[in-house]
């Protein structure tokens, strides 16, 4: 994917970033909320509406795809395009943290 296209998604919201990370393994909506809650030690508890809208948007942009329906619950998983966007965002965040650490160490 071209860098220009990736840049369209970054910088991304914390919600979108965490939801993409949660879908490296296939999950349904409730599963993504539990994943995010656990990984952030309860700091981030995403609402049902926010997850619903973000997943719809991610699916439309083909960053995730719908895999199967279990008990009328749609399951999703991240796509290669989604992974590329996450890698780009991780590098962007790393460079930001690096700047912060440099300044911190200078002080």
């Amino acid at each position: 994917m071209q860098e220009k296209e990736i840049k369209k998604y970054t910088p991304m919201s914390e919600t979108m970033f965490l939801l993409l990370l949660s879908l490296y393994d296939s999950k349904h909506g409730y599963g993504t909320m539990k994943f995010v809650k656990e990984k952030t030690n309860g700091r981030v508890i995403l609402g049902a509406g926010t997850i619903y809208q973000t997943l719809s948007k991610l699916e439309k942009e083909k960053l995730i795809i719908h895999t199967e329906n279990i008990n009328r619950q749609k399951k999703y998983v991240i796509t290669e395009k989604g992974k590329e966007v996450v890698d780009y965002e991780v590098n962007r965040l790393k460079s930001l943290v690096q700047i912060a650490e440099d300044i911190h160490n200078e002080g």
């Binding site: 919600t15 409730y30 508890i45 049902a48 509406g49 926010t50 619903y52 973000t54 009328r72 619950q73």
Partner: protein
Amino acid sequence: MKDKKIILFPFIRCYSPEKLAAFLDSMVRKGWFPKKITLFSYFFISFIKTEKKEYRFAVDFNLMSSRGYRDFYSSFNWIHLGKMSNLNLWYKEPEDDSGKEIYTEKEHILQNQKRYALFYLAAIIPLVMLFAAITAMLVLSFSQITVLKAVIYCIIDILLLCTLLATSRQFSKLLKLINKEKKEL
């Protein structure tokens, strides 16, 4: 003791989705549970007497109220109370650990408030038309109708005007809120 209560114009009392949800929370805390939500809920909501409870209500506008949408919210333990047009009312147990809010992203909260504003507008337009129609009828046929009829029309017109003013006042409060939140985004 009364076991039914009717609240008139619930939407005029509550100018944002959050205010409406908080109003319903407070009614349930006092032991009044909303019976159902229908198209007539714009004019009134009837409440039935129950034991005092703590529930969390949420107002959500969904343009495609599909089965998928309802199933999705249900998996987060939200219970669907009813809908009028595309306004959906949900509630859940307060101690539930799958999120106390429907929207946790500012962008989505704002979008929901904007849809509430459209909902208000959809109520204001017919009120204006009805008011204009009755006023026109009153002016044009003033010499031909009986005093009693004229008085009745006047009373209806004044009631409509009051409702219209109250709705418009709340609508402007909502617009102010939306503008404020837009700036914060």
